[in-house]
Amino acid sequence: MIDMVVIPVFKMLVVITAVLSAVAYMVLLERKVQAWVQVRLGPMRVGPHGVLQPIADVLKLITKEDVRPASADRFLFTLAPILVVVPALIVFAVVPFGTSTTMFGKEISLYITDLDIGLLYIVSVASIGLYGLILGGWASNSKYPLLSSLRASAQIVSYEVAVTMTLVSLIVTAGSLSLVEIVKAQEAHGVWYVFIQPVAFVIFVIGALAETNRAPFDLPEAEQELVGGFHTEYSGMRFALFFLAEYTNMIVVSAVGVTMFLGGWLAPFSSVSWLAWLGLVPGWVWFSLKTFLLLSLFLWIRATLPRYRYDQLMRLGWKVLIPLALVNLAVSAVLKVLL
């Protein structure tokens, strides 16, 4: 009973809570980083240095009036934000935070489930969220949201091809679709895959920025052209769900990137003898640290780079990244057959 029900459900609740609080503080961190880059202070009023800002935001959003335009589709308008959030959350079911730990005399694995087709699961579930974006723009029956969701769909779909091709070249190297097996393969190789597949990593990071609608590819939310993007007509909690999903997706792509390329829960410098004490730190700490590093990279890029034009975006996706990903795949396949 305890092994079958209590522990898995407890793990899920811990993961969901951790992700949601991480999202809340990502929003604060993003505002702070943006402010620091622009030599401002950022949020300072709510709590010391604004640390309670996320709680204030949530309380405010939940007590706001929830406006639904009269011409909107009643059912789809509510379904869309839920359809965006749920896929973003359930991706974490297959992400391994570590191997296993002993708690209260029990061996507990630090992942919710280990699917044989984990990577395929992630790719397919992550693209369900796109339906939410399109439905949100369509159901609003407003011009800017609809334009924005069209842009978002064309953009995400274009970069999806390049990203999945890099993942395939990683499968070629690792020989497995299970995320736990991929990390173990990196342990067996003795080197993280970012050093074996550097081109794939670069394509993955660019594609991840584009698929999460982050700067410099945040065209669906280009406020100078499209007001607020696909969630212009949303307010209150339904708007909060869209916001939540966007940041959850950022954490998802970082976590997947860490698992695939940066050795997941493995400690760095495992081959350097005088740094062997790094292995004493629990795996989930390394995993969180690396995910945080990748997220900080996202924030840094947002604060540094101006937005792309739509034709530049499509040209980069189709004419640069996809051919590059194809060549990378062909080369890694040759190496796999040869070695």
Partner: protein
């Protein structure tokens, strides 16, 4: 179904969280609708016509090309896993498959389907 049950539970948990949030805001938030508030937002001027108009054909073209490439990638997953056993034979078979798809890709490229701006802007 091995390993899939937790995912179903996870879907239920996520949907419950999102649904509860939407429901809670229905009860907690004020209700004060006015005709202006319920109109679609168009920068403050009265909305003109319906939003669901015709859209650029480029979006459809990109969707179709994506479909072809995504199916190609779906074929690549099992190939990538079995590459060791397939050896050079499997490698050259997938190269032929690639070449067929690439010829279509080059055609689409030359036709200008992937160009979204006007010529001078590039």
């Amino acid at each position: 179904m091995d390993g899939w049950l937790p995912i179903i539970v996870m879907i239920l948990l996520g949907a419950a969280f999102a649904g509860a949030g939407v429901l809670a805001s229905q009860f907690l938030g004020p209700k004060n609708p006015t005709p202006e508030k319920l109109a679609p937002y168009e920068c403050g001027v009265p909305p003109v016509g319906d939003a669901r108009e015709r859209m650029s054909v480029k979006f459809y073209l990109v969707a179709m090309i994506f479909l072809l490439f995504d199916i190609e990638v779906a074929f690549l997953y099992p190939w990538a896993l079995a590459l060791r056993q397939l050896g050079w034979v499997g490698y050259f078979q997938i190269l032929v498959f690639f070449a067929l798809l690439l010829s279509g890709f080059i055609y689409v490229w030359r036709k200008g389907v992937l160009d979204w701006g006007s010529e001078e802007r590039i």
